[in-house]
């Protein structure tokens, strides 16, 4: 019974999550563009925001990038890890990234609890997101400590599972034998993906990349200035 349930969780939940993610974010972007914002509260509180937001974002981005690289090129990770020293370097830096994220999110949660101005702009959904992210970081760090060399076994056995999801032929054999912490980590990840369009996390999708190649000044004409005079009314 439990097994069937778990199988269902690992095989079906990801699709529900991805479906909500794509439909939700696209619909929200089209219908409520205005709500796409990082909703920064730095204006209301500056100091703790620095000590929280900076380590959290760098830490989480580094770790997330590691997960994505592992997903895309698992063989390269395994090759890199074939020399023990390189494995230690990768694992240590990933762990430090996780610690940064943990420190950051604890400071950010403390800030939202204690600063009355910031509390004013904190929604219940913000708390759900913060709690889920904290849980993700927690299970991640727990796994790193108690189930060593995750970068290797992730690339070897979890990435094939993720690819099986991505190619619509879910194969749950590998995840079923994973320890509980890892299972929760995977469910947490898909739950975050499912909740994504209903939270402030959408700001990740609107990172300002066009800025890097646009001209400094932006001029918009309401009328087509080159044809306006040639028209015959």
């Amino acid at each position: 019974m439990l097994d069937t349930m778990m199988k269902l969780f690992f095989a079906v939940l990801p699709y529900v999550a991805l479906m909500t993610f794509f439909l939700g974010t696209i619909y929200r972007y089209r219908a409520r563009t205005f709500s796409y914002s990082s909703l920064s509260s730095q204006f209301l509180e500056n100091r703790q925001q620095f000590w929280g937001s900076v380590p959290f974002h760098y830490g989480i981005l580094f770790v997330l990038a590691g997960h994505i690289v592992g997903f895309l090129v698992p063989r390269s990770i395994l090759w890199w890890n074939s020399v023990p020293l390189r494995l230690y370097i990768l694992e240590t830096s990933a762990f430090i990234g996780g610690l940064c994220a943990l420190t950051g999110i604890i400071i950010l949660m403390y800030r939202r609890l204690t600063n009355s101005k910031v509390a004013k702009v904190t929604s219940p959904m913000d708390w759900i997101v913060l709690a889920m992210l904290a849980a993700q970081i927690g299970t991640g760090l727990y796994t790193a400590i108690f189930h060593n060399w995750g970068s290797s076994w992730y690339s070897a056995s979890l990435v094939p599972y993720l690819w099986s999801i991505a190619t619509f032929s879910p194969d749950t054999a590998a995840v079923m034998v994973m320890p509980w912490a890892v299972k929760f980590h995977i469910w947490g990840a898909f739950a975050l993906i499912a909740l994504f369009p209903f939270t402030r996390l959408v700001h990740i999708l609107v990172i300002p990349n066009p800025y890097l190649w646009r001209k400094p000044q932006v001029v918009i004409w309401n009328w087509d200035r080159h044809t306006i005079r040639q028209r015959d009314y």
Binding site: S37, Q42, I207, Q217, V218
Partner: protein
């Protein structure tokens, strides 16, 4: 020559009485929503003073505006394409609420609901953000209103850096204080730092009239514009998580009305008109030396009666009615013809298009005597001895160029003397002629200045062409397409559901 049109404003500081009617008109229309209570798109400051937000002119604190690099290029002080990935999680140059003030209201209901008690009932102030009682209000809008001479406010005015200690002491001597009012709105710059800094590309300059706007749908609250604007005229709405700024009341402008702040101005100090400028020369001018910038900006503005300019403007899609408005523009007269108006802090290099006529008042009261001097023997000597030192005004309005301030003040003084000769008659004609000549003006021009300064009607002060929305639509689409398709209040066509 890339001729474009720009709504250009002139504020006549000699006429501002500091009544804040403009601020209230603006607030009532645009910024009385949650998240905007602390914003004053239009505010009036007392100068010398620290202003709003506190010490906004001090760019060593806020890092606003542009700076020149060694290889002669312009770059923003606060942000760049290289640094934005590192500063996006925490903007190191962001002013916080404390630099403005925590907005509040009073618990008025207490005045009615309090139980009978022996002491007087008071309405305590409460924060408009948290709703908590504020025991001790530390700052507010116009917190240093009329507080010239105060060691906490006026003496910390960054513009005083060029004023010698001696003069400074005299400026702030008790009972001999001098100050003037400095109303500010967004300058709708030609080289706007806010636009250039926005990572999302939400800010833009309108091609037709140069109004700088912020697309709320595209703003992602990266907050770069707030630190980049050296005038601190973009604001962060803490509630919606979007930035906002003065829109020059474009819905009013488009229908030929003056912006609310200008329309309501009691002292009638505000003039608005179109000017034509050469967009090709923006970079060149923005690169000039500090004390050359004001003159350089003047040279950007083109003569709207010059056939070559008209032709180039027409070629560039500037509407005939805009060109006509530029020809009747009061701003053009103050800035170009009479050379009275000057740009605020041109050294920030954003090329602001809100110009100021420097204040002549306090009338002829010089530093030496503290008495109002009627003597014209000394002609313009009094200009040098104004209680508001020329070096101070130069720091504020001409990037340190004292000559431009002197020129402007002399001419205004000559106009005043001519009128005094005409109406009071205690000044010799010969003296007046001498002054007019020395101030580089004529009786005719001086009379015109007098007329536009003192007697101008509504239509003379505001020369605003219609927005030609109809043509804007016609030039990009077929009007008939929209006929009978959308009703009131719909963004999309109200189609029957499936």
């Amino acid at each position: 020559m890339d001729v474009r049109a720009q709504v250009t404003t002139v504020f006549h500081l000699d006429k501002c009485i500091g009544c804040h009617t403009c601020s209230i008109a603006c607030k009532n229309i645009w910024t009385d929503r949650e998240g905007t209570e602390y914003m004053w798109w239009n505010n009036v400051e007392t100068k010398p003073g620290t202003g709003y937000p506190t010490k906004w002119e001090d760019q060593s604190k806020y890092n606003g505006g542009w700076e020149r690099t060694k290889n002669g290029k312009l770059r923003l002080k606060s942000t760049s394409k290289k640094s934005i990935p590192f500063n996006i999680f925490h903007n190191p140059n962001l002013p916080t609420l404390d630099d403005y003030y925590e907005p509040w209201t009073y618990k008025y209901e207490d005045l009615f609901n309090a139980p009978e008690q022996s002491s007087q009932v008071t309405a305590m102030p409460k924060s408009l953000i948290t709703g908590e009682i504020i025991e001790h209000i530390k700052s507010g809008p116009n917190w240093d209103d009329d507080l010239s001479g105060s060691p906490i406010y006026a003496e910390n005015d960054p513009n005083l850096s060029a004023v010698s200690d001696d003069i400074r002491k005299q400026m702030f001597a008790v009972e001999r204080l001098a100050f003037f009012y400095f109303p500010r709105i967004c300058n709708h710059c030609l080289n706007p730092a806010c636009v250039a800094s926005c990572p999302s590309g939400a800010l833009y300059k309108r091609g037709e009239d140069g109004i700088v706007l912020l697309n709320q749908e595209r703003c992602r609250a990266w907050r770069s514009c707030i630190s980049a604007c050296p005038y601190k005229k973009t604001y962060y709405n803490w509630s919606t998580g979007k930035s906002e700024k003065c829109i020059l009341c474009f819905p009013r402008i488009e229908s030929g009305q003056a912006p609310a702040c200008m329309h309501s101005c009691v002292g009638r100090i505000r003039y608005i008109g179109m000017t034509l400028y050469d967009a090709d020369r923006i970079v060149e001018v923005a690169n000039l030396d500090d004390n050359q910038l004001a003159e350089g900006m003047r040279s950007l503005i083109l003569d709207p009666r010059d056939p070559e300019v008209i032709e180039a403007a027409q070629r560039n899609g500037v509407h005939d009615s805009v060109i006509e408005a530029a020809q009747n523009s009061p701003s053009y007269k103050f800035i170009k013809t009479w050379k009275l108006a000057l740009p605020p802090h041109p050294e920030f290099r954003t090329l602001p298009m809100l110009w100021y006529v420097p204040p002549l008042s306090p009338v002829l009261a010089s530093l030496d005597t503290g008495k109002v001097s009627n003597s014209t023997d000394e002609l313009f000597e009094s200009v040098e001895k104004f209680r508001m030192p020329i070096s101070y005004l130069a720091n504020l309005l001409s990037g340190g160029n004292e000559g431009l301030i002197r020129y402007s003040l002399k001419k205004m003084l000559a106009v005043r003397m001519l009128q005094r000769h005409k109406t009071v008659g205690d000044i010799e004609r010969g003296t007046v002629d001498k002054m007019l000549k020395e101030a580089d003006t004529t009786e005719r021009e001086a009379t015109e200045i007098y007329r536009l300064t003192s007697l101008a009607t509504f239509d003379e002060r505001f020369s605003i062409p219609p927005a030609h929305r109809e043509e804007a639509i016609e030039s990009v689409g077929v009007v008939q397409e929209h006929k009978a398709s959308a009703g009131f209040g719909f963004k999309f066509a109200p189609r029957r559901g499936l």
